[in-house]
């Protein structure tokens, strides 16, 4: 019991935050919103996977990845490929010159299913691919970069370039990927209509449950010695190295884990939204995910979820009524979060919650999450 309390929930304040979040997304939102709105919130929550991954990676590890969209996209495309193949059964596509392959392939004069599409005919293999391929990709990138001590700004730029490369590839290789429009017209999952209300409810709760699970696992990582080491590496990498740790291993692990989380988010995105396109892969979505984490407070797993929800709700509200204002607002948000609220929503909560709820006071500083410090090496900030 104590293990669950300390390690998985992070003490009293962590537990309260977790329960409040769980109540909000599992009970309150489904009670007050119709399925259309709930589906929208579900979509936002898939981004929260990426935001949570950035808390681990950037907030704790000091590793800024501007390529989380890549992993989100790989997960999303994996799921989309499976659904597309199911939707492209020979009966459904008999008007095509080659029935049984996705419509965009037929339009691009492709007559046979490409080899890398074949495994996605199986649901089991698809799930395995979503959980392993993005993580493996991250492992390779991480291995190449972290063992050569590429870090900080250079890592950020290289991950960004990888996002650019992948976007151009997807857009350019229309016949294999569906190009700029992405993979659309996804209908059923193992015969079950994913656009039906019951499916939407199911995916919403599955998604929320997965997100909460990911948060619990992340908490476990952060409260273990691994978490302290991440912080230690962020602030004094050399000392960690000269205490006998292979710093690169830790970074590779957390980068791969972060990639896996993001990929799960991407797969859930496809299931709930019904399509996947390159616009969720490139620079812009990747950097937006960073700002979700930043608004939440960088070092707060729960905060990242609220940050994601708030910004996306704002985006939807504003771009419906004042599309012009939204970019100004978003730009201003980037600037003000960095300059005035580096600890984000979690910082505000930590400052004000103990005043509102006096019972939080006694152990307000359970886990030493250091304040924002400046850092001259460029290895990391917070």
């Amino acid at each position: 019991m104590n293990f669950v309390y300390e390690k998985l929930m992070g003490g009293k304040q962590g537990l309260l935050g977790f329960v409040l979040l769980a109540a909000l997304i599992l009970v309150i939102m489904p009670m007050f919103f119709d399925i259309f709105r709930l589906n929208l919130i579900g979509k936002y929550l898939t981004y929260a996977f990426a935001a949570v991954s950035l808390v681990l990676l950037w907030g704790y590890g000091g590793i800024l990845s501007l390529g989380q969209g890549v992993f989100f996209g790989l997960g999303g495309y994996g799921m989309a490929m499976f659904l597309k193949l199911e939707a492209s059964s020979p009966e459904n596509t008999k008007i095509q010159s080659t029935p049984g392959i996705p419509d965009f392939m037929d339009w691009n004069q492709i007559t046979e299913l490409p080899w890398f599409w074949v495994p996605f005919e199986s649901f089991t293999l698809t799930i395995i691919a979503i959980l392993t391929l993005p993580a493996l990709f991250a492992y390779i990138i991480g291995k190449a970069m972290f063992t050569r001590r590429v870090g900080g700004v250079y890592f950020a730029i290289i991950t960004q370039v990888i996002a650019v490369i992948l976007t151009i590839l997807i857009v350019g290789q229309q016949g294999f990927t569906g190009g700029i429009n992405g993979i659309t017209d996804l209908r059923t999952l193992n015969g079950w209509d994913i656009t039906s209300d019951s499916a939407k409810y199911f995916f919403y709760f599955l998604n929320a449950g997965l997100l909460l699970t990911v948060i619990v696992i992340s908490r476990f990582i952060l409260t273990s010695k691994f978490g302290s080491l991440l912080l230690a590496m962020r602030d004094k990498e050399d000392r960690v190295r000269f205490s006998g740790y292979d710093v690169a291993h830790f970074k590779i692990f957390i980068f791969s884990f972060a990639a896996m989380i993001s990929a799960i988010g991407g797969a859930m995105f496809t299931l709930q939204v019904g399509f996947m396109s390159p616009s969720f892969v490139g620079i812009v979505p990747s950097i937006e995910m960073v700002i979700f984490a930043a608004v939440g407070g960088r070092i707060s797993l729960i905060g990242a979820v609220y940050g994601t929800l708030m910004i996306n709700a704002g985006k939807t509200a504003f771009s419906e009524s004042f599309p012009e204002l939204w970019l100004f607002l978003m730009g201003g948000l980037f600037i003000s979060v960095v300059m005035f609220f580096p600890n984000g929503l979690a910082g505000l909560w930590n400052d004000y919650a103990p005043r509102v709820f006096p019972f939080l006071k006694e152990k307000a500083k359970t886990k030493d999450v250091p304040p924002v410090v400046t850092d001259e090496t460029g290895k990391g900030t917070v």
């Binding site: 691994f226 912080l231 004094k236 000392r239 740790y245 292979d246 030493d368």
Partner: protein
Amino acid sequence: MDTNTNFTLAIEDLTVSFDGFKAVDALNFYLDKNELHVVIGPNGAGKTTVLDLICGKTKSTEGSIKFLNKELTKMAEHEIVRAGVGRKFQTPSIYENLSVLENLEISYPYGRGVYGSLTFKRNKTVLDKIHEIAKQIMLDDALDTEAGLLSHGQKQWLEIGMLLIQDPQLLMLDEPVAGMSVKEREQTAELLNKISEGRSVLVIEHDMEFVERIADKVTVLHQGKILATGDMETVQNDPKVIEVYLGH
């Protein structure tokens, strides 16, 4: 050819050059078991560079460094540490945001892999060891203090403690008493004499009075080369050393 020696540390023909500038030049240096050896020398003599080379922070251009007959020049930093070499930096390098206890815990030599660190538990063995070391470095009253709040001297001790908890065979200290008060210097001298029992210690220091108190042997480094080696008295009376320190 058998190049094994009985020395804890045997450095031979060690050279490192930065764009042609030889910071360490064909250096030969030996360190016995249980010896407390102090390296002195004017600024820019290459003292810190030698420590950097031993612990793998800088890669040598030529030559060999053997620690207990293991070649260090090809090893990664963490492997060198795990082989039993501990190094204290010139400015205290500790985790300011963590408590003294957590600083020592992170340095505790178990759970060094990814999996090990995820499953690491703060059990009685760990805590006992931490308390033992904390007592040695005179910080047993300050275990819960955030390390950033310690005095400069205490930070130096904490870093020494973080090395001691790993029980290294070779301990390298770069200016351990810099910025310390007179009393703290005395305590540090005592500490060093105590911890040099059972391990070799290599110290870089400027404070001659302090050197005299601790050193078994002294080496003077000048322009990347050894000028003189021996006990304190021999070195102090060496005309070349006097020339370097007082001449020009």
